[in-house]
Amino acid sequence: MAALAGWAGAETRPRYGGTLRVEVRLPGDSADPPQLGPGMADLNGSFVIAQWDAGRRAVYDASESAPGGRPYLDRIEIQLARPLRDQSVDLDLGKADMVELGPNELRRSPAGRRIWPSAPVRVLALVFGPHVDDARVREALSLAVDRGAIHRVLLQQQGEISGALLPQWLTGYAFLFPAAADIARARTLMSGMPGGARTLTLGVDDPGLRPIAERIALNARDAGLAVTVAPNADVRLTEIRIISTDPARALAYVAAAVGANSPARAASSEALYAAEKSLLDGFRVVPLFHLPDVYGVSPKVKGGPGVSPLGEWRFENLWLESGRP
């Protein structure tokens, strides 16, 4: 698996000390630093929060009483709400040691840059609101989306095209869910529909997803749907993280994230497939892609990889080339 290839090649002569400067695009605007989930929450145990400027900056110091021993790094400074493009520039200018890379940044990355990718752990999906009660409209939109063009151009072939909620690497049956566009059928579904039913608004949770949303809107026009990208949306293009390697747990979390009823605990792959299929019937949720977390890393960061296949941060074994001996 390509995503796991970065685990190889750890430095053999670790050093103590130094501050790892990390930049992320998502804002942490809660009063307290996150306690659960990948990212900063993964630092708990090895690092302790030292400073929290909600929405802007978090500083973690190495924990002397970490279960696995004190980390090599003294401190981790995390800058929040940093745009992807700026993160990439900061990495190039040496202002950051570890940044997120979007498809465009990945495309523009200079040759030889160190990249730590996770497995495809984010599912990008269309989630319809309760107002869109005509299943034909939902199905037409799902059939109109040209996933291939988006994957090829906008995602620069990052991640996987999928019609399933859970990724192929996690369940092994994701390929069974259809993901191909069928404009002719979409048009057929929309024929005879009144004008009001053909109009939808599409919202995005992350501004970085807007180009994908606009492409979906363009595809929808071909099917006879008038879709505009707007904040108050009938349907949202949203990203849901796979938080567990346990497919059943992961499916339950995804179902909760999209507002669907929690599926029954599946004991087998068949049951899990059936549960997922039942979630997708009715086209309330239309999975589009599974995307990995991809980080660009400065050459002076040693050890690692600092990201697990699920995208969790593993910084306790990293050190900096210029750190104290």
Binding site: N104, D146, A149, V153, E214, L218
Partner: protein, 579 residues
């Protein structure tokens, strides 16, 4: 209306008509001249705008060709991985200042779109039809955008590397923003009607629009769309009016995609015309005023001699026969004045001759009358004296008796002569009336009582018809009594066979009327005419002074006497006296 007023009115009307006509002609020709200048100005403005528009086209072509020749585009063209460049158009467009830019692969597939980034992978088939993009330059095209349809000004450049070709389709959207960047002369605004929808809609009109433009310009736009040729109209009224040359804008496929409306304000022209009109009105008013004053002066100058002539003629009519007018010119008026003077001079001479002739005639009449009056008593005197002489010579014994009879006759005739002389004396010595309020009903009644016996003897019935409440009028009672007596005696004389004498009084609006009428033999018109002439009489006896005295008295009372009569139908004498 006087001659002078009429003349002044004619002059004034002539002046107003002339000035008005001249004013109208001047204003009309001035307006035509200004309209011509305005048309030239509008043409120049349109030409200037078209140059600016062409310059912008050239800029677009240059920008597109610049992109096509850039290293970046060569890199894209040589790349086998077009998806990598799906956002390249946005940077290139912003670098070249283009709002619209698409990079299209040789097969017509969009590699990157600046205006609609999501359109990558879609096809632009029209590019693959083999047009000569270089000679075509910039052209108009209907363009589908994410937020609707737009009218765009595009140019196409190409870059070929080996067997790969990439089209560069770039330009500007013809919208309000584009129009606002055009450098326009002062007083000019540009509007663009984008003919992208089947029906005319106000939203299709962009540019420096104002409230109501859509409604006002719709007929012009539809006209241009129908005729497909440039049309110019004046839209609006007064100072807000604008001249709108409307240019059809054909598109790439020869469809009419828009109408360019270049508005040029007519405010300056209208204000200039208004100023001219105002000045013209003031000048005309001044001209009319001056004309009226001149007309007044000329009228006075022309009519003054005529007025003097009229006044002189009036004085002549009033009896001033010797009136003359001053001759101050040698024109027709002068000739008229001279003729007038000649006429009055001749009138005076004729009147003097007439008076002289009348005086001679009067003396002759007087001599005749005196001879006639004196002859009657003188003849008995002569006979009586001769009888007395004959009786003394031949019959002395009878002389005493003859003498007694003769002296008696002589005394009677001498008395008669005294009476005749007295009447003449009375006429000569008519005194001025002593005016006092006289009740004519009473005067008539008293006078008629004096004639009761005489009327009875002459078998004449007297009839009084007196008006009630007849007011007293100023008169000399004694003289008026004499007038009435004379008229009654005249009437008695006119009815030797008897008849009816009627005396009637009546009130006039300003005075009274007394009528004395008889049923006698009447008078001929000639007799009526001469009746009041002194010493004229139709009777075999009398001095002919009775009615002359009557007329004299009435005249002295500022009254008027007249007679109505026809032969055989009696006569009616009418006296009107003022109050």
């Amino acid at each position: 209306m006087t001659f002078r007023t009429r003349l002044l009115l004619i002059f004034t009307l002539a002046v107003i008509a002339s000035v008005g006509l001249v004013e109208l002609l001047v204003l009309n020709s001035t307006r035509q001249a200004f309209e011509g200048v305005e048309a030239q100005r509008v043409d120049a403005l349109v030409g200037q705008f078209q140059k600016e528009f062409d310059r912008r086209k050239e800029e677009i072509v240059a920008a597109v060709n610049g992109i096509a020749r850039s290293e970046a585009l060569r890199t894209i063209a040589t790349s086998a991985d077009y998806p990598t460049y799906y956002d390249a158009a946005q940077d290139l467009a912003s670098t070249r200042g283009l709002k619209l830019l698409e990079l299209v692969a040789g097969d017509g597939t969009i590699i990157s779109s600046a205006e609609w980034p999501a359109r990558f992978g879609y096809s632009e088939e029209w590019l693959t039809h083999g047009a000569d993009w270089h000679s075509l330059g910039a052209f108009l095209k209907r363009e589908e955008l994410a937020d609707g349809v737009a009218l765009s000004l595009l140019a196409v450049g190409t870059v070929s590397v080996d067997d790969r070709q990439v089209y560069v389709v770039g330009g500007q959207e013809l919208d309000r923003e584009f129009l606002s960047t055009l450098v326009l002369p002062k007083g000019m605004r540009v509007l663009l009607f984008r003919n992208l929808d089947p029906q005319f809609s106000a939203s299709a009109l962009v540019g420096d629009t104002r409230i109501g433009d859509a409604e006002r310009l719709q007929p012009l736009v539809l006209r241009v769309l129908g005729d497909r040729r440039e049309t110019t109209r004046i839209v609006g009224k007064g100072a807000d009016a604008e001249t709108f040359p409307a240019l059809p804008l054909p598109g790439y496929e020869d469809t009419l995609l828009g109408v360019l409306l270049i508005a040029s304000s007519r405010r300056e022209l209208v204000e200039l015309e208004a100023s001219l009109r105002s000045t013209g009105i003031w000048v005309a008013a001044g001209g009319i005023l001056m004309g009226v004053m001149l007309a007044w002066w000329a009228t006075a100058r022309i009519t003054r001699p005529v007025q003097r002539l009229a006044e002189s003629a009036g004085r002549v009519a009033a009896g001033e026969w010797g009136t003359t007018v001053e001759v101050a010119s040698a024109d027709e008026i002068g000739k008229l004045a001279r003729a007038f003077n000649r006429m009055t001079h001749e009138l005076v001479e004729q009147r003097q001759r007439l008076v002289q002739a009348e005086r001679v005639a009067a003396w002759r009449e007087l001599a005749r009358r005196l001879a006639h009056e004196l002859k009657n008593p003188l003849f008995p005197l002569q006979i009586t004296v001769e009888n007395m002489q004959r009786a003394r010579e031949k019959y002395p014994e009878q002389f005493d008796e003859v003498f007694r009879e003769g002296t008696s006759t002589l005394l009677a005739e001498l008395s008669n002569l005294k009476q005749i002389i007295g009447r003449f004396s009375d006429f000569a010595k008519m005194p001025a009336p002593e005016m006092q309020a006289v009740d004519f009903n009473q005067l008539v009644s008293e006078t008629m009582r004096l004639f009761e016996g005489q009327l009875t003897q002459a078998h004449i019935a007297a009839k009084l018809d007196l008006a009630r409440d007849l007011r007293a009028v100023p008169a000399d009672a004694e003289q008026m009594t004499r007038v009435l007596r004379n008229l009654v005696l005249n009437a008695i004389d006119a009815m030797p066979q008897g008849g009816t004498l009627t005396v009637r009084t009546s009130a006039l609006s300003e005075g009274i009327r007394v009528e004395v009428s008889d049923t006698g033999q009447g008078l001929t018109p000639e007799e009526c005419e001469r009746l009041f002439t002194p010493y004229y009489t139709t009777k075999t006896h009398g001095t002919g002074l009775g009615l002359a005295i009557v007329q004299s008295v009435v005249s002295d009372h500022k009254g008027h006497i007249s007679v109505d009569s026809e032969p055989g139908k009696g006569a009616k004498f009418r006296i009107d006296l003022g109050g």
